[in-house]
Point group: C2
Chain length 252, copies 2
DNA sequence: TGAAGATGTGTTAAAATTTTACATAGAGAA
DNA sequence: TTCTCTATGTAAAATTTTAACACATCTTCA
């Protein structure tokens, strides 16, 4: 109810660029202005709009005005990533300990994560902040050198750190995938970390939106057989799916 | 006259991201609020800023990452903290390695930090993200359990981690201070970390806005003699200042 | 199932901000 | 000088936002 209305408002704003409260009131005659205000407030908290006197404007609109290109990474394939994140979130059990990486898909997973008694490790700064919103979640940040392009950390000493930590599940994502080169990413140190994570976890779930398929990045951190579940979107090619399922890897 | 002022406002906004009319009023005491309003209006017309209730924000700020609920907290004593942060930033040399904590004052320090060849360690998630915006800065995040109230990390294994790292300078802040109880904070694990940081650094600079004075938090991590420089605001009581300077601690 | 708490909403008054309207001062031109 | 135009200041009016409370609904957990 509430969420739907908020999403509708966000959509409207994206379309129109800017809306006054009056216009919103016309669009939603069955709720009070105050409620709409509160919706706008929430959208502002989520960083999706900017409230201005009289109403609000979409962030996209602002960026259009300025002419600068938007940080494409976070807007591209949003819908697919959200769906993937939702699937991943549904797989998480109570009282579980898991690792999440620091990519954009992981960011959506953080948002979708159930607020239950879980322990989550991550190397993503933004992911950690997002997870901190959840009351019942325990969050542990992996330290290390901060990679500025994706706001993740990685460190050669992670291995030592992992000696005292345990998690059953690793939910990670890749920047690129081909059957030959496996799952790859752009930094050696990141690949090392993800390998370590894989080795530490009892099970590895890979989130991969179909736009990553056919691409190759410099450092491979996992091959097909290294993962247990592949979480992807509806555009995932049937022949590839076959390839995974043949090897008893669940594709969903 | 007018044009200069407007350009100055635009510059300020680019730096701070967001300004209230009150803050602008302070910066430009010789003109009325109305004039500043008109300036903002003009800048808006030129598409360079966005006016929001209470003031304006730079277009660049909008393009930055999502809106954290963290921002709410950071509005208390903002002006004092910014001034303190500016003083602290002015003390940082080129080619230096330093530690910054994860508090709100440190957040402002991160914003004011010169974009030079420095290596910065921090335990603040938001601080690390802010620092990542700077091209020439190397940022290392300390790992550990995430404390949700201040988005910082702390970990009992930090000691081991520090064995391989070095920094000359620690710029930290406290949640509370009294002469008897020293500098204190709200979490044991955080106090442990800060003690460690103090021990590791060649010099410790303490940022303390005057609102913290007279308060006591559960865990003391430093006493008066443990610090080298105290960075504070204009409301710092003279008798306390005397207390510090008597012991050869610089108060600024 | 029912009590306790969280969540969503509406109404109204209070607070804050912005706009409007008008007055004034100073700079430059005829 | 006097006129006019722009920049600015002041204060009231208009508008918007926030705060406070009440109430219904939905969860959840014993």
């Amino acid at each position: 109810m509430k969420r739907e209305r908020i999403e509708e408002i966000a959509e409207l704003l994206d379309k129109r660029g800017k809306l006054t409260l009056e216009q919103l009131d016309e669009q939603f005659p069955n709720v009070s202005q105050m409620t709409l205000r509160r919706d706008l407030f929430q959208l502002e908290q989520e960083g999706r709009i900017i409230r201005v006197r009289g109403g609000a404007m979409s962030v996209k609109e602002v960026q259009k005005v300025s002419g600068e290109p938007y940080t494409k990474k976070t807007t591209i394939h949003t819908d697919e990533k959200i769906k993937i994140a939702q699937k991943a979130a549904s797989l998480i059990d109570e009282n579980c300990s898991l690792f999440i990486d620091g990519g954009t898909t992981a960011m959506y997973l953080a948002k979708e994560m159930p607020d239950r008694n879980l322990h989550v490790f991550t190397n993503g700064l933004a992911v950690a902040i997002e997870l901190s919103q959840k009351k019942n979640l325990h969050v542990t940040m992996l330290g290390g050198q901060v990679m500025k392009d994706n706001l993740s950390t990685a460190s050669p000493v992670a291995k030592a750190y992992f000696d005292n930590t345990n998690f059953e599940l690793a939910i990670i994502s890749a920047s690129a995938f081909t059957p030959e080169n496996g799952f790859s990413c752009g930094a050696q140190i990141e690949a090392d970390l993800l390998k370590l994570v894989r080795a530490k976890a009892k099970a590895t779930y890979m989130m991969l939106d179909s736009s990553k398929i056919g691409k190759i990045m410099p450092y491979t951190f996992a091959h097909i057989d290294d993962i247990d579940v592949l979480i992807t979107d509806d555009n995932f090619p049937a022949d590839l799916k076959e390839l995974f399922t043949q090897r008893d890897i669940v594709v969903m």
